[in-house]
Each structure stands twice: as C-alpha cells, then as structure tokens.
C-alpha cells in the first residue's frame, strides 16, 4: 500500500490502529506477556471463587459465620476479622511500596529500587506468615479440609484450597521480587540495557496478587 491511501475512520479506524504493523501494544514483550498471563490467571481464580460459591449453595449443612470463626481476642475484646484486617492492610501497603519501587526504577535510582523491592517482599512474607498463623489456629480448633466442627465441610475445603493457592502465588511473588531486586542491586539490568521494565513487570504480578486477595476477602470473609 502506498502512503497516499486514505485512513479509514470510525470502527474500521480503531481496528486498523490495533492491527498496525509489528506491535499491537506499545509495550515490551515481557509486559505484554505478563498481561496475558494475568488474564489467564484471573480465569483460574474466578473458577475457584465460583466453585466456592456453588458448593456453599449446594451443601446441606449450615455455613459457619466467618466473622466468628476468624475472630481474635485482643486486649480482652473479641474483634471479628482482626487478623484478616491486618493481613489485608499489610498486603495493600506492599502494593504501595511496589509502586514506589517501579517509580524509582524508572528514575534509575538503583538503591531505592532495591530497598523498596526488599520491603515489598518483606511485607509479602509477613502476609504469608500471618496466613500460616491463621491456618494453625483453625487446625487447632479442629477445622480440616474434609470436616469442620462449625458446620459445612466445604467451609474448610474451600478455605484451605483458595487461601493456599493464593498463598502460593504470594510466596512465588516474594521469590520473584527478591531475584529481581538482587539483579537491580548488582546492575544486571543496566548491563543488558533493559531499562528496569522488569521491575514494572514484577510489579504487575504483585498488584494482581493483591487484587485477587481483595476479592477473596470480600467473597470469603465478608459474605
């Protein structure tokens, strides 16, 4: 086609803009791939959550009240969902430090990027530890994947499965962040000229894991 061709407008124009040669999205390959992966992962978590809702509806035994099961006693008061509130707070804070790390990366501030990523990983690790604490507490109270003293067995099954799967995502994220952080520290990305986009890509994953938690929180703990 020669340069003189008229550009179509309207929907055809939108289609043409996306179909333009070489790249559909003006982003690095890794970032595009991460977006696509996260879309796929969204479907995994959606399937988990929808399945949870369906077994919750189909089971014949009563569903335990999450605010009671997940309550903690602090300073002599029974506070519902106390631990979960703290966990959620920690995870959302880690999204904040991650966003700062990305920003510092683009400013080529290696040291700040490194430390912010380490902070993010530390917050993530804190989250996983608190999750482990909560698992232990429930197990001590007799909740198992196949039974639970408060009512429907599916409560324990869904809880351990979904938080376990999410916890694995967080753990993998912590490891991923630490690897990238180490490479930021030793200047690897400057040598191969990739301009710290990898920090942003890791950040995408991290924000996604946080976002998923918000949904788990809403559907499992608040409903």
């Amino acid at each position: 086609m020669s340069e003189a061709v008229m550009e179509p407008g309207g929907t055809a124009g939108v289609v043409n803009d996306f179909a333009r040669d070489k790249q559909v999205f003006g982003v690095p390959w890794g970032k595009a791939m991460m977006w696509i992966f996260l879309l796929s992962d969204t479907f995994i978590f959606s399937c988990f959550l929808v399945s949870y809702m369906m077994v919750r509806i189909s089971t014949t035994d009563p569903w335990p009240n999450p605010s009671e099961v997940f309550g903690l006693t602090a300073f002599g008061y029974d506070v519902p969902l106390l631990l979960i509130a703290i966990m959620t707070f920690v995870l959302i804070t880690s999204s904040g430090t991650m966003a700062l790390a990305v920003n510092m990366g683009y400013r080529k501030n290696r040291k700040a990027t490194f430390w912010l990523m380490v902070a993010t990983a530390a917050l993530g690790a804190t989250f996983v530890s608190m999750q482990a604490f909560e698992w232990t507490k429930l197990i001590m109270e007799g909740v198992r994947p196949w039974q639970n003293p408060f009512g429907a067995a599916q409560f324990g099954s869904s809880f351990f499965m979904i938080t376990g799967f999410h916890g694995m995502h967080v753990t993998a994220g912590v490891i991923y962040l630490l690897i990238v952080a180490n490479r930021v520290r030793n200047g690897f990305y400057e040598r191969c000229g990739s301009n710290y986009e990898i920090v942003e890509i890791a950040g995408l994953y991290w924000h996604f894991v946080d976002l998923v938690w918000v949904f788990i929180f809403a559907f499992f703990y608040l409903w």
């Binding site: 179509p8 040669d21 390959w29 796929s40 399945s51």
Partner: protein, 587 residues
C-alpha cells in the same frame, strides 16, 4: 533475559547458533526444532490412541472373541483413547507443533519472543505424556472414567483405575496445562508483538489467525480444567467434598457429604467446549491456506474469515451446557444454550461457504494437500450438520449417549482435524525437511483414509438412531436392537482396522522422502506467505539470514490480473508487482 530476545538482534545471530548436537536437536530453543519435537511426540501418543481404538473396535465388532479385552480394559481404553486424541495429540500437534513452526515464519520473526520458555514448554509436555503413559502400569491400571472424568464414578470404587490411574490422569492434565501455558503465552505474544515490518494483523495468513485464536481460547479455558483437576484430586486424595455428594458405595459410606457433581460438569465443559474449537480453529485456518494456495485463488472473504474466527472463539465460551442437557437443567437455561449453540453455526457456515467459493472457478491442483483439504470440507459439513441436531434440547435427549453422538464428534473433531493435520504435513513437509514426498503414495493414503473413515462413521449414525448406547462394552440383551446392528458393528470394525493399517502408507512415504526423496525447491507450491520465502530450505536458526523480511501485501495475492506469475509473495514491494485486494491498511 527480559524482553530483548533474538528477533531484534541481527548481529547476535551467529552467537545464538547452537554448536553441539545436544543444543541443536535436544535442548534446542529454535522454534522449528521444538515444533518437530512436539509433533513427533504427539504423533507417537496418537498412535497409541489409535491402537486403543482398534482394540475397542475388535471387542465391539466381535464380542466374546478376545479374552484379553475385559470390561475394565475396555473402559480404560476408551478413556485413554479419548483423552489422548483430544489433548495430547490434537491440541499439542496443532499448537505446539504447527503453532511453533508456522507462527514465527509466517509473521516474519526470527523466533518466538521467549525461546527458553518455549523449550521448557516442550519438556514439560513430555513429562505430562510420561505421567499419562505411566498410568497404564500402576496398580489398578489407567482410569476408566471416560474422557469426561465425571465424578462421583471417576473416584468411586467399581470404576477401573480409581487407585492410582485417576490421580495420574489428573496430575498429567495439570502438568500439560502448565506446558501449554508456557507455549501459549509465547504464541500469543509473538503474534501480537513481534511481526515483521508491514505484517499488519489483517495481512496475516489465516493459519496464524486460527492458531492465535485457538491459543487464546486455551489460555482462558484450561484454567477451568486445572481448577476441576485440583478439586477432584483433593476429593480423591484427602476426602474433601467439592464434587462428591453424600453417597453410599457398595453398602459402605465413603464419608462424603454435600458436594456437587454438576459443578464438575460445568467446569469441565466450560473447558471442554472451547477445547473443541482449540482443535477446530487451527484446522479452519490451515485449510483456508491450503485451499487458496492449491486453487491459485485468493481466499474468498478474508475479512469475514477473520471475524468469523474471532466470533466463534468468543461464542464458544457461552455454549458449554449443551453437553449437559441430560443432566437436567432449568428449561430457560436449555433454551439459552440451544440458542447460542445455533448462533455459533452462523459464522461456521459462513466459513464453509467461503471455502467452497474459494474453489469456485479456481485453477485447482489436486495435489495431496488439496485432496485432504477438500476431504475436510466434506467431513466437516457432515459433522456440522449432525451438530445442529444435537444442539437442540428435544432432539438431543433421545440421541444423547448413543452412537449418533459418537459419529457426530468423530466426524467434526476427530476425522476433520486429522485430515487437516495430514494435509498440513504434506503441504509443509518440503519446507520442514527440504525433501519432496511421493505423490502417488500420498494420494493412496488420502483416498483410503477418506473413504475408510466414511465407512466407519456413516453407519454409526444409523446405530445411534436405532438406540445403540455409547460407552458399552457389549450389547447384552437389548431386544430393541435388530440383529443386523451386530453385523454393522462387525463391518465398522473391519473398516476401522483397514483405516488404521493404511496409515502405514503415510509413514512409508515420509521415510521414503527422507531417504530417497528428491530435493525440494524452496517454494514448491508457489505460495505467497512468508514461510516459503526463506533464504534456506529448511530454514536455518534465525530463519531469515541477515535481514528480516518486510511485508507489502496480504497473503493471498494469487492470480492477480495483469501480472505474469500467478502468485506474488508477501515480501514483493508494491512498486514491483501490483497489489491485489489488501485489507492490511497503510503502512
């Protein structure tokens, strides 16, 4: 590392050239080698599945004759046959095999965007195959739950393979999904982000469109299978009750309570229906290119073909419950799913019309790939029409779980894609190996396969109408069936064994070609798309020598009026040859 992979680094190509035999052919990151590894492994397991179908046919055709086929074995054969054919053969071959080979060559890039991950994808796939095959040899043998793996029977005593077979099957599927995801992310990103200059999306050959859309479907549908596999493993392994209702098994209470078997069916078919299109869309795309090339005509309605692929892909996510009419559902649901199912027939029919119109007044060369492509049109129309029957609730209810269904899905997703697979192998064989195959032998292979499969599946429709049930080891005392049903079954078995045996022609041909075949020209079919314009045949690592190609036109400039040759390759500039119909947009 990072996003800087080899497609952008011309000067590094020498660097990347693998040196030793091991890095060149085994731990290879070259998409072409990975494609061949995928293809060879898939065909190997496919042969196992073919062998299993022969055993089933022996039993059905000549009951009480073969003592080594017990009812338990029969169920194991049926399950493994179905699962291998659908997932480990067709999905792996179309996406891992053809996807890997064709995408970078057709869009003009040097490789996939992340070659290392691409290599891992193959090795993880191989692992899943090994786990799958191992399940034949564990205590209790492979699972006999049927390829749909419906609980509760998939994990309840009485079904073969509930000890370890089902566990290995689910594990193998999970591993397969990991492998597919690693490959699939590569295919999608390569198509979206790494095309050569001028290769707009609307200039891509339809093969790439079909494989691309199928991969997208895979990335969105396999999650449902993964989740159901995890949940069933938990039900089986630690006695959760996701899918298991309170149930008593042989007088004992296995201790399940309150789960939902229907939930599994929803998850399975939310994956399962798109899966049908995961094997169909690449076939649609490839067959379009075969027809156009060998009819020396541009594909009819390119733009419509692309939109049809996209529409079919989207719609395939909202039809899943047409597999569950007999499970019982709200009539409004049945109405909804029947409607969406019939709507999907519209873009599908458009594609069929376009294929036929592509042939119309074409300069048809009945070479082997073309024969297979035309054979596909027949079998696909055939299977598509019976699909309309089964899509309607009231007609499906009596036909469900009869041989009518077996005939339908074998025509539409068994025979049709397999014909395209053969057509595609013959078509790209000269490019892949640099050798020509034996034309006459190829024609024999086509005619025996094509006519033979009709001899197998056409009678099955009648068996279905007569009420012969699917998944039965033997008929038993079914008075309503005429004795002739058994004669028909015997005839079908003979045809099936015949078809299975004729596949040897294909392998003889390939071996002949590799050893004695004449050297192939770089572009023996005088095709336009970029993979035929590589400097070397077979293409070397990096594909394009020093310079990446540039694309100036769509992939279908055949018989452009006023030009001497009847084809103009995509990398010929507009200043050299006229541009036919081009939907690609300015560049």
């Amino acid at each position: 590392m990072g996003y800087v992979a080899i497609a952008d680094r011309d000067h590094d190509i020498e660097h990347h050239d693998p040196q030793t035999f091991i890095t060149k052919y085994i731990w290879s990151q070259d998409h072409k080698v990975i494609a061949i590894q995928y293809g060879a492994t898939a065909i190997f397991v496919g042969l196992i599945a073919l062998g299993l179908s022969a055993m089933m046919r022996l039993q059905l055709g000549f009951p009480d004759t073969f003592s080594f086929i017990t009812p338990e074995n029969y169920y194991q054969f049926i399950t493994m046959h179905g699962m291998i054919m659908v997932i480990y053969l067709l999905t792996a071959l179309f996406l891992g095999g053809f996807g890997n080979y064709l995408i970078p060559l057709m869009v003009g890039s040097r490789d996939m965007v992340f070659p290392y991950m691409n290599m891992l994808s193959y090795w993880v796939y191989l692992l899943s195959v090994i786990i799958l095959i191992a399940s034949f040899f564990v205590p209790g043998g492979a699972t006999g739950a049927g390829w749909t793996l419906y609980p509760p029977q998939a994990i309840m005593q009485g079904t073969p393979g509930t000890e370890w077979g089902i566990v290995l099957m689910l594990a193998s599927l999970a591993v397969f999904i990991v492998a597919f995801t690693m490959g699939g992310l590569n295919y999608v990103t390569t198509v979206l982000q790494a095309r050569c200059r001028g290769m707009t999306l609307m200039r891509m050959p339809l093969s790439v469109w079909g494989i691309f859309m199928a991969t997208v479907l895979g990335l969105l549908a396999f999650p449902a299978l993964l989740v159901s596999a995890i949940m069933m493993l938990l039900d089986k392994g630690i006695h959760t009750s996701f899918f298991m209702p309170a149930i008593s098994s042989m007088g004992a209470d296995p201790g399940y309570t309150g789960g939902s078997p229907i939930l599994f069916q929803h998850l399975f078919w939310f994956f399962g229906h798109p899966e049908v299109y995961i094997v169909a869309l690449p076939a649609f795309g490839i067959v379009s290119d075969l027809l156009s090339t060998h009819a020396r005509k541009n594909i009819f309605g390119y733009r419509m073909m692309v939109w049809a692929i996209i529409a079919i892909g989207g719609l395939s996510f909202v039809v899943w419950a047409h597999h569950m009419y007999v499970s019982g559902m709200n009539p409004y649901f049945g109405f909804f799913f029947a409607t969406t199912t019939l709507i999907i027939a519209v873009p599908t029919a458009l594609k069929v019309y376009n294929w036929v119109l592509t042939l119309w007044e074409g300069n048809i060369h009945l070479r082997v790939p073309m024969l297979f492509a035309i054979g596909f049109i027949f079998t696909f129309i055939h299977g598509g029409l019976t699909g309309l029957f089964l899509g309607n609730v009231t007609i499906d209810l009596p036909l469900s779980d009869t041989y009518f269904v077996v005939a339908h899905f074998h025509m539409v997703m068994g025979v049709s894609p397999i014909l395209v697979v053969f057509g595609a192998i013959y078509h790209w064989w000269p490019k892949i190996t640099g050798k020509m195959y034996h034309e006459t032998l190829g024609r024999w292979h086509f005619w025996m396969t094509f006519l033979g499969t009709y001899a197998i599946y056409l009678p099955m429709h009648y068996l279905g109408f007569a009420g012969v049930p699917r998944r039965y080891f033997a008929m038993g005392n079914t008075d309503f069936l005429p004795d002739s049903a058994q004669d028909l079954n015997a005839a079908i078995t003979i045809s099936a064994l015949f078809v299975a045996a004729t596949q040897i022609l294909f392998f003889i041909n390939m071996i002949w070609s590799l050893t004695k075949g004449p050297k192939a020209d770089g572009n023996p079919w005088q095709a336009t798309s970029l993979e035929w314009q590589t400097p070397d045949t077979p293409p070397k690592h990096g594909n394009w020598g020093h310079d990446l190609p540039e694309c100036y036109r769509w992939a279908y400039d055949y018989s452009v009026p006023g030009y001497a040759d009847d084809f103009i390759p995509q990398n010929v500039p507009a200043s050299v040859a006229p541009v036919g119909r081009d939907h690609g947009g300015a560049h």
